[in-house]
Every structure is written in C-alpha cells, then in structure tokens.
C-alpha cells in the first residue's frame, strides 16, 4: 500500500483536533500553549506534504521555516505573559482568570 497525500493530511487534521481539544480543556495555561504548538505543527505538516506531492518542496520548507520561527517568538511572548499572570494571580488556571466578563 502506497502512502498518499491523504494519509499525511489525515494525521495532520487529527493533530490539529488534538491541539484544539487540549487548548479548550486544559486548565493550566502552559498546557494551553502546548496545544497551540500542536496546531502550528499540524499546519506545517500540511505545507510540507502539499509541496512534496507537487514537486516544489523548497517552497514548503520555506513556509515551514517561517512558521517555526514564528512559533518560537509567539511562545516566548505567551510564556512571559503566563509568568506575569502567575505573579499577579498566584495561579495559572486559565478558567479561573475570568474577572472580566459579561
């Protein structure tokens, strides 16, 4: 059985769904950030798979490279914010940080 494009896409879709699930169900803010990383990885698999199967792998690598750099920048900022949350609220349970509402 040959591995086709769809195989990769299905794995990436599942990875995306896991990521989304983790984001919305985990209370710990750091775990939420991990979920976001999963989503970005899923998108990267897509980029590479598509470009591989259309014989333009160089483009896919560039796109993936951009996304990886961005993920690093984003997680740095997000973690800094989480640390600040910890300093202010003495806990990082996202669901308890809901003073601003309605």
């Amino acid at each position: 059985m040959n591995i086709t494009l769809n195989h990769f896409l299905i794995v990436s879709s599942l990875l995306f769904s896991f990521g989304l699930y983790g984001i919305v169900t985990r209370k710990n803010a750091v775990m939420v950030l991990m979920g976001i990383e999963l989503i970005l990885n899923a998108a990267n698999i897509n980029f590479l798979a598509f470009s591989r199967y259309s014989n333009s792998i160089d483009f896919g690598q560039v796109a993936a490279l951009f996304v990886i750099i961005l993920a690093a920048a984003e997680s740095a900022i997000a973690l800094a914010i989480v640390l600040n949350i910890y300093k202010t609220f003495v806990n990082i349970n996202v669901d308890e940080i809901d003073k601003l509402r309605e």
Partner: protein
Amino acid sequence: MTYYTFAFYAFAAIILLSAYAVVTSKNVIYSAFSLMLTFFGVAGFYALLGADFIAIVQLIVYVGGILTLMLFGVMLTNKITETEIKTGVFQVLPASIIIGMFSGVLIASISNNRWTVAEKLNNPQNSLVGIGSILMNEYILIFELLGVLLLIALIGAASIARK
C-alpha cells in the same frame, strides 16, 4: 517502499499517541515530555517528506528551544515542593462533541477532495540551495519582516517578564 510505509505508520503512531497523551495526561511534566515525542514524530514526518533541513530545524528549535521554554514555564509557575504537578480539565463533554464534529467534517472534506498531485514524484534532493534562493529572492520581504518580528518578540517578552 515498504520501509517508507512502515516508517510512516510508526511516526504517525508516535505523533498521535503522544499528542493524545499531551492533551489528556494529568501530570504537566508527562505532557511536556509527550510533547517532545510529538515533535520527534513530526520531525520524522518532515524527513519522510524530503524536508531534511526542516526536520533538523524542528528538532533544534522545538525540542531545544520551545520545549525547554515550556518546561521552565512549568517549573516557574508551580510550587516545587509539590511532588506531583497536576492540572485539571474542564468542559470536556461539550469540547469533545464540538471538536469531534469539527474534525469529522474536516477529515471527511479533506479525503473527498481531489488534490492536484504531480504525476511522478521527484526524488528529494539536497534542498538547502533552493531554500536559500527563495529566501533571498521571492520572500526577501518576509525574511526581513521576520527579523523585526523576532526583535519585537524579544522586546515584548523582556518588557513583561523583567521585574
């Protein structure tokens, strides 16, 4: 191709199982290490797809950079004296239903689409030259922009995290 097929399934299993562990494990540290496994699996996928350079970058940046950052995050935001670093979950039922629907629709429509696929796949080549040329020509603007973005991230993170 059998090695290829085997490798695909192996990496897919690693990715999905460890990703599942990331989002369900009660222990934050386990989650973090499962995440590392996921990154490895994804890197394996990249290699399978002929993107050797990105596979290496994935390992260096994610495992070496982001994951370490995460672990620091975990350590800094939990009392070290606690033996078990656990975390709760909430809205599991509605989330499962909705995200289940979401991914169901997504996978169904992806598998029913006729993707444009090249008739004959080229064998992967050393791609560093190609990447470099794209970065310096077509996407030079984005490349420069990413420089600014990293600078902004640096300033921002420092501004918030410092005393």
